[in-house]
Amino acid sequence: MALWNPYTTGYFNNPYEHLAECRTTEPMQIGIHKEWLLFNYKDVREVLRSPAFGVSKLSEYFAQKEPVILEKAACPFLAKGTKTWIMYLDGQDHVRIRTLADAAIRQFNFTPAIERAVAACFEKNKDAAELDVVDIATQIPMYIVEELMGVSGMCSYEQVKRFSHLLAVSQDLFVTKTTYREVNSEFEWAFSFFGELYRKAGANAEPHLLTFLQTVNKEEGFRLSDDEMISLITVIFMAALETTKDTMSVILYEVLKDPSLAVYIEQANEIEINILAEEFLRFASPLQYTVRVAHEDVEINGIRFPKGTRLFLCLASANRDAVVFDNPDTIVPNRKYNPHLSFGSGMHSCLGARVARNEIRSWLKPVTKHLLNYRLAENEPPNWQRTIFMRGLKSLKIERK
């Protein structure tokens, strides 16, 4: 059998071969880290939708661990910063905060913001002889986030990039105390930065997401404190930036490798683009794993999991399961049946799914058209992030044809 180990040679460049081996030889197994993993589509989906499972509690974990993670003089921000991160909440708190965030997000009109972001990014890069696809995939969501937050040139590109990336890394599987300490100091910065934006939001003439969050919280009686609202803003910010960057960079890599995809995109009508966007989401699986905890004793396929067992659900593997998807390792632009799990499923399914789909549908044609002038740089292989839960590129150099 293949024992799951993300440090198997070549995993970060291409995890799918290893995941396929795990799925076909031992689809429910205890991995190298001594915890359970599920690889089959059917099992992963079942656990995602089962009321017997909840999410892991990140903020509680931090509250318990802060004394051993942080140096004595440091102000603790880890538990506070993640307190209202929706994907780590269950029950009443989850429903309440999700409803609040959803109501605010729905008031924001994304389509023009996305179109402006794509245009601004092109304008900035129009004369470049060499580009990094990851920079494009970072700049576009960054412009969108600026509109969400109602500021432009919000702060240094590097600072935002570092903050957002560290927040994503902090949720990975193997994280050291040093990284958590860095995350803590980034949160300290974020509380002052987003705190100021949030407090000023009401006075802003042009309403944006922070204004909507503030109004919904006040007028519909949610009563989140300012700190809880800032925690929520950080998670929306991180989710908006990191997942978009990862998904976009992986999609563009595929488009640059296969010119027939670029041609397909150029000629596709609206419906064909929507179908292709779903296929790209399945293929890229930006969030590769998610964790669930048994709230009671549960049995799956004859294996009993006692209450409290953590299960690692491999979404990336489920999305390549041949039982559900024909030619799972190929991008099939007009795939007919595509119930992928890239946005999860059930209670915790991705809150930003609608926005994410909107984004891909809006940028796919214009960005592809722009990149037709470029090719992958010779002798510069793609550089993949060494993260396990989130998959994306660190850099991908392209040069003008």
Binding site: N5, Y7, I32, H33, V68, I69, F174, T176, T178
Partner: protein, 78 residues
């Protein structure tokens, strides 16, 4: 670091992490008996990587169950 130095390093660091006296640690005892949580094991593997200047998987503590075996495995890494 040679084999003995790696062992000494591990004993010292494991003692610090699990808040026990280094003298009570025997290098042939199962690592799980020191009650290290995953946060500590991952942090130790990175610290070791920095101390030795060679690449060490963060899963190394799960792969080798005593300090003796761990030191031997680490010493033979390229």
């Amino acid at each position: 670091m040679n084999n003995q130095e790696i062992k000494n390093w591990l004993v010292q660091k494991i003692a610090e992490e699990s808040d026990i006296q280094p003298e009570t640690i025997k290098t042939d005892m199962p690592i799980e008996s020191f009650n290290l949580d995953s946060l500590s094991m991952i942090t130790l593997s990175y610290d070791l990587e920095n101390a030795l200047g060679k690449e060490i998987d963060p899963t190394v503590f799960w792969q080798h169950n005593t300090i003796d075996k761990l030191a031997e495995a680490i010493e033979t890494l390229p």
